[in-house]
């Protein structure tokens, strides 16, 4: 079992925003805000400082993306009906079957993914994310939650994630945190940190590496203060819409790396 993760090395990052734009191009992320006033973004760079820190004046960046958390707050709030899905470990061939809503954490690569076909577009997941890493894409006629997938679709083609490929500084490093020989794991050993605290502790798998003053600036400005409260009204509204959605046959799973097929779907096909 793997846990894909990313290191952002702020010693290298120059704050050029190429990662954010490459992601926007790759995944056709619209600009502006969604109707809940969330920034439409999968990937972002914020400039921090210059500010005084105990270690002296500092200025750095907060390049962010979905943390593909160990305990993702976005997954449990998804109101879509659960279906049975079987996942396959590409390394061992082992399989695991679980009940998943329209968003789930992959048991074998640790990424958090969305099935766009089954997503109700309610935005509950986006509200639940303390890192504001999800938004609702309203471009396609039907609103759908969207977020960083760690470019598993590109990985499947033997390509690097779009943000990693374009980074001139090689400040974004992607890999398998569970492999102690990986570059990302080595950064963890060197002290790369998670943006979490006592109140927000859901195991983010994007970690940051920086000198002391930049780290001070990053952690004091960019760790969420609290876990967001789920928007009850939005969830209720979504549940009211569900019966209509249940009528739809052929609920497919997004063809992501390691994902096999929803059992319910095969049954529907037989009918």
């Amino acid at each position: 079992m793997s846990q894909y993760g990313m290191i952002i090395d702020l010693e290298k990052c120059v704050g050029c925003h190429a990662c954010a734009i490459a992601c926007r191009a790759e995944w056709e992320v619209p600009t502006g805000k969604d109707s809940a006033q969330r920034e439409r973004r999968r990937n972002w760079v914020l400039r921090l400082g210059p500010s005084k820190t105990p270690q002296g004046m500092a200025s750095t960046y907060y390049p962010g993306l979905c943390n593909h958390c160990d305990k993702p707050a976005c997954v449990d709030v998804c109101p879509a009906d659960k279906v049975e899905a079987t996942f396959t470990d590409p390394k061992s061939g082992a399989t695991k079957t679980m009940q998943v809503a329209a968003t789930w954490k992959d048991p074998f690569n640790g990424t958090v993914q969305i099935d766009k076909e089954r997503c109700l577009g309610c935005g509950a997941c986006a509200d639940a994310c303390p890192y504001s890493a999800r938004y609702v894409n309203e471009e396609g006629g039907e609103p759908k939650a969207d977020k960083c997938t760690f470019c598993v679709e590109r990985l499947a083609q033997g390509l690097e994630p779009a943000c990693v490929q374009t980074c001139l500084a090689r400040a974004r490093i992607f890999g398998d945190l569970s492999d102690p020989n990986s570059e990302v794991a080595k950064y963890v050993q060197k002290g790369a940190v998670k943006l979490e605290n006592a109140k927000v502790k859901i195991g983010p798998n994007v970690r940051y590496y920086a000198n002391k003053r930049d780290m001070h600036l990053l952690t004091t400005t960019s760790i969420p203060k609290t876990m967001p409260q789920a928007n009850l009204r939005r969830t209720i509204m979504a549940r009211m819409l569900k019966p209509a959605m249940d009528q739809v046959k052929n609920l497919g799973m997004l063809g992501l790396a390691g994902v096999v097929i929803a059992k319910g779907l095969s049954e529907d096909d037989k009918q």
Binding site: V14, G15, K91, G140, E183, G258
Partner: protein
């Protein structure tokens, strides 16, 4: 290496996963899943899905010209990436490069030839045919030439595609009045000062990747982004180079620096002179290099001997011991030191002297042709194909700076200031035709009111551009140009591998179109077609050497035994073995007899600049990583990253003024000129109290730029006072001072 292997293995594992997914058949099921009752949700397929990769792109979101590939689906460009074959930028491109797609399909782009049936500055556009447009341009430009002579035409070019028009008007029509913004408002001073000192224009040719110390004067890398340049810089830092940054502001580079010299703006030359004087007095300079290659060193040493550390400390408002620390750090790491020549250097009107001082410091440390030093790479040579120089003598005769015996170290062309003054005064001759090509002088040249006056007195104004920038509002005829992604334009990029420590290689990469311009909603053309058609109508048809941009590229490539077909086969980039870039020494004119003869200071001299009046702070501007001046402002993706240009204000000053982070403000300058638009305050300890800072290029006027219009403050609108560099005639733009306005109330800035 181990890490790379791990990465590759990792990617292979991921590929296997894809195979699994495909075999499971979910893609097929998904395809069938649509029912008449449910719309298929939007799910971007990714740039790799059903696209073909087209090679040969050369970026022009800025002018570093990274090599690109395009991912094209059904004739439409989906994504731009760095060309994997590139030995320059590699697979990386910057934010602007990535956003090129958004320029290509920007709905605000110029589409058809247009005639202004309203007024200049308040245009009403009528679509006309190319024939009508070209006939009118030819007749009216010819009218100006017949009445006032070729010198009656001024050309304002910028960018690759402007070279052909520029050469036509200079060489064939015969006007000397060419204002290249890239020289007169940017790097021209640097080039001529280095030529006067080291005999070569420096480019940004410092071997930072292999340096032990890097010295930046105002360089703010990270905010200013050129991919292979930054790769060199970051490699140097990774290898442990000491970074010294001289800047009144805690810039992106300062945040990575070992030493931040928080200098008082405008005093940099004093700082450099004190360093050099100290190094000489302490015997910490490269005596061997200076003895072998220095000219006039004695006069130089004597001439700067008054420049004590104490004097500089007071002048520059930095601690004396810090100046000494900088000098000692440079000496300790010499000769492997990168003294960066800068890029945009027209700051305060005393800039030639500062650039001379930088070149002298480079020589004094012997950091020329050595690892980490000033090392012009050995790139391949390719020829040129273009207009014959028929009228060069005529042009020379009417060159305004030659006639006025001014600006004897002027870069090629004519100083913008002289062109504009001549146009407005009619002395010594009339300038009545304006040809703009890719340049937006409204946001490039100080004193917008005077620029507009110049435009208003013209008999004819012709502008060709990709976007409706502010200058296009003043055109009589406005021509739409193809973008860099859909045209040949005769440009051939060439150079070496980015890191000189790697095996020596050279590359030749002509710009090839990534997508076809054929479309039903526009009639854009390339500059070679446009100028050829114009030339024929003006009676210069017989001098045309190439019929098309494509032919031009073929002819240039044929000179090095290459062809477009061959380049396509070679994935857009021809690679060949390179040569060792190290080992070449250059003579150093510490004392320049040439300058003395021309009546200028023969050794680098500090010329004080005006101080901010009470209640004002000096307006300093710089680069945003997501924009190239004003050119990219209408790009929806880039705009979204930084929708305005926050005005940096010292935190203690802000407190006294009652301003908070994010407050909406306007600015007013020393001449009472107010910003047309507003921005927000950025409150930070990372800037001096006597300085305020903002990114350049915002505050577009033209409403036809629907994304950019009115967003942020146009710094150029506040730069009304000129500081003209006496050696070069280039515009210094940092001798202007501002106060804040909040809710209509003017707020003085405490000292």
């Amino acid at each position: 290496m181990a890490l790379n292997l791990t990465r590759r293995k990792f990617l292979q594992t991921a590929s296997l996963a894809a195979a699994t997914a495909a075999m499971s058949g979910c893609f097929a099921d998904r395809a069938k899943a649509g029912t008449p009752f449910v719309k298929k949700p939007f799910a971007a397929p990714g740039s790799f899905a059903d696209t073909k990769t087209v090679t040969g792109g050369i970026c022009e979101m800025c002018f570093w010209r990274c090599q690109l590939v395009g991912k094209v689906r059904d004739g439409r460009l989906v994504k731009l990436e760095g060309n994997p074959k590139s030995i320059d930028n590699g697979v990386s491109i910057c934010a602007r490069g990535n956003a090129g797609v958004k320029l290509l399909y920007d709905p605000d782009r110029l589409k058809f030839p247009m005639k202004n049936v309203g007024k200049r500055g308040a245009p009403e556009w009528k679509r006309i045919s190319w024939d009508e447009a070209l006939d009118e341009c030819a007749t009216r430009l010819k009218g100006v030439i017949d009445k006032y002579g070729p010198q009656g035409i001024a050309i304002f070019p910028h960018g690759c595609s402007a070279t052909y028009p520029m050469n036509f008007f200079e060489n064939v029509v015969g006007t000397p009045n060419n204002s290249e913004a890239s020289f007169f408002q940017c790097r021209g001073i640097r080039d001529t000062a280095y030529v006067a000192t080291l005999g070569v224009p420096p480019g940004e040719n410092v071997d930072m990747a292999n340096a032990k110390a890097i010295f930046l004067l105002g360089g703010h890398f990270g905010e200013n982004v050129h991919v292979s340049h930054l790769k060199r810089y970051l490699k140097g830092l990774e290898n442990g180079a000491k970074l010294i940054v001289v800047d009144p502001r805690f810039s992106a580079s300062v945040s990575k620096a070992d030493i931040w010299v928080r200098i008082k703006p405008g005093t940099d030359t004093a700082f450099l002179l004190a360093i050099m004087n100290y190094l000489i007095k302490e015997g910490k300079y490269d005596k061997k290099y200076v003895a072998e290659h220095g000219k006039g060193f004695g006069e130089f040493a004597k001439g700067i001997s008054h420049s004590s550390l104490k004097w500089a400390a007071k002048t520059c408002d930095v601690p004396e011991k810090q100046i000494k620390q900088v000098a000692d750090t440079l000496a300790a790491n010499a000769p492997n030191v990168s003294i960066h020549p800068g890029r945009h250097v027209s700051w305060n009107g005393n800039d030639f002297q500062r650039e001379r001082a930088l070149a002298c410091l480079t020589g004094l440390l012997g950091t020329i042709g050595v690892k980490g030093g000033f090392v012009p790479g050995k790139g391949p040579k390719v020829g040129k194909v273009g207009w014959p120089k028929l009228m060069s003598e005529h042009a020379e005769q009417f060159a305004l700076h030659t006639m006025a015996k001014l600006y004897k170290f002027s870069p090629p062309g004519t100083p913008t200031d002289l062109i504009r003054n001549t146009a407005v005064t009619g002395k010594p001759y009339a300038i009545k035709g304006y040809v703009g090509w890719g340049q937006n002088p409204i946001q490039t040249i100080p004193d917008q009111a005077l620029t507009i006056k110049m435009l208003e007195q013209m008999d004819f104004v012709m502008v060709c551009d990709v976007m409706p920038t502010d200058i296009t509002m003043y055109a009589d005829i406005l021509l739409p140009e193809l973008s860099y992604l859909e045209r040949y334009d005769g440009y051939i990029h060439k150079g070496t591998q980015w890191n000189f420590a790697d095996p020596q290689q050279q590359f030749i990469a002509p710009r090839l179109p990534l997508v076809s311009p054929i479309a039903t909603d526009h009639e854009r053309k390339d500059s070679i077609w446009i100028i050829n058609e114009l030339a024929k109508r003006m009676g210069y048809g017989e001098h045309i050497k190439v019929k098309s941009a494509e032919e031009m590229v073929e002819k240039i490539l044929a000179g090095v035994n290459l062809s477009i077909g061959q380049l396509v086969k070679e994935e857009g980039i021809h690679l060949q073995p390179g040569a060792d870039p190290y080992g070449k020494a250059l003579d150093v004119e510490f004392y320049s007899a040439e300058l003395a003869e021309a009546g200028y200071s023969a050794i680098p001299t500090y010329v004080p600049v005006p101080e901010p009046p009470k209640g004002f702070a000096r307006l300093v501007y710089g680069r945003s990583p997501v924009h190239t001046f004003n050119r990219t402002q209408n790009n929806a993706w880039l705009h979204n990253e930084m929708p305005n240009n926050p005005v940096w204000l010292n935190d203690e000053s802000a407190k006294k003024m009652g301003l908070k982070e994010g407050d909406t403000i306007e600015l007013v300058n020393q001449d009472g000129v107010k910003s047309r638009t507003s921005s927000v305050v950025k409150v930070t300890p990372g800037i001096r109290k006597d300085t305020i800072y903002m990114a350049h290029g915002y505050g577009t006027m033209n409403k036809a730029m629907t994304v950019a219009s009115g967003k942020g403050i146009d710094d150029q609108s506040l730069i009304t006072r000129l500081a003209v560099d006496p050696e070069t005639g280039a515009h210094g733009m940092r001798n202007n001072f501002v106060k804040f306005i909040k809710n209509g109330k003017v707020l003085s800035i405490p000292a």
